[in-house]
């Protein structure tokens, strides 16, 4: 499940990737050595997050379909849909933030 906490965790990881001093002791070359750090890379983390969002989306889809077929409880549908909505929102805001950071770097005068 994607939660604001895991989003915060993602930021911590991103900060570690962006911070060269964290990678220096391992002899890496700053940002480029991100993939070698102990934790999973940011890309893998986002992939995981998207996977769980898709999973909860499937769950709420199944509930909605059961509801349309007259089998599900409206309460279950509402909670499933809300959970998915929250998960998607959390993931989308993390994505926006990461893209904003990337754009900031791209705008940097060299």
């Amino acid at each position: 499940m994607v939660s604001p906490l895991s989003a915060a965790g993602a930021y911590a990881k991103l900060a570690r990737l962006a911070d060269p001093s964290a990678n220096m002791p391992k002899g890496g070359s700053g940002v480029g050595a991100g993939g070698d750090s102990a934790g999973p890379s940011f890309g893998a983390l986002v992939k995981d997050a998207i996977g769980s969002v898709i999973e909860s989306g499937k769950k709420s889809d199944a509930q909605s379909q059961a509801m349309a077929a007259g089998k599900a409880n409206i309460v279950d549908v509402a909670t499933a849909v809300t959970e998915t909505e929250v998960a998607i929102e959390a993931m989308v805001s993390v994505r926006d933030k990461v893209i904003a950071a990337y754009e900031e770097i791209m705008r940097m005068p060299i």
């Binding site: 499940m1 906490l5 309460v75």
Partner: protein, 136 residues
């Protein structure tokens, strides 16, 4: 996630109140259901009960409908000698359903449901505010 847990707990409250509403609906609908044979017992009022249940997956106490019990109080009797369910002395037993009590129970179920819905929407607002932190 803890927020989603509290949402699930409130949802269990919604489910329990729905079940209670069903029992009340049965009582109201059967308020005049007499026996099929002379001198027999009519519909007996049902009382919903709730109990706390430990949800292992959530690690929290949720609420579920317990056994639906029967109200042991006396039936109402009416003198209607021509009624098919009347006994030898001409009295018909009517269910021990009091519509005023049922209306109050219904209002209570409605209010409890609203309270649980408010818990869900407040939780949702809290999640939303937390996500908004990311956007600032």
């Amino acid at each position: 996630m803890d927020f989603l847990k509290s949402m699930q707990i409130a949802a269990s409250g919604l489910r329990a109140q729905t079940g209670r509403m069903q029992v009340i609906a049965e009582n109201v609908a059967n308020a005049d259901s007499t026996a099929q044979r002379p001198g027999g017992d009519p519909y007996r009022r049902k009382i919903p009960t709730f109990r706390s249940e430990v949800d292992r997956a959530l690690e929290a106490n949720t609420v579920t409908m317990g056994k639906v019990r029967q109200d042991p109080t006396d039936f109402r009797t009416k003198y209607e000698p021509g009624h098919p369910a009347a006994d030898q002395s001409g009295y018909v037993k009517y269910p021990n359903v009091n519509s005023v009590i049922e209306m109050n129970d219904m209002r209570e179920a409605q209010r409890s449901y609203e309270a649980n819905v408010n818990v869900i929407s407040a939780t949702r607002r809290m999640i939303q505010r937390t996500i908004d932190l990311l956007r600032a």
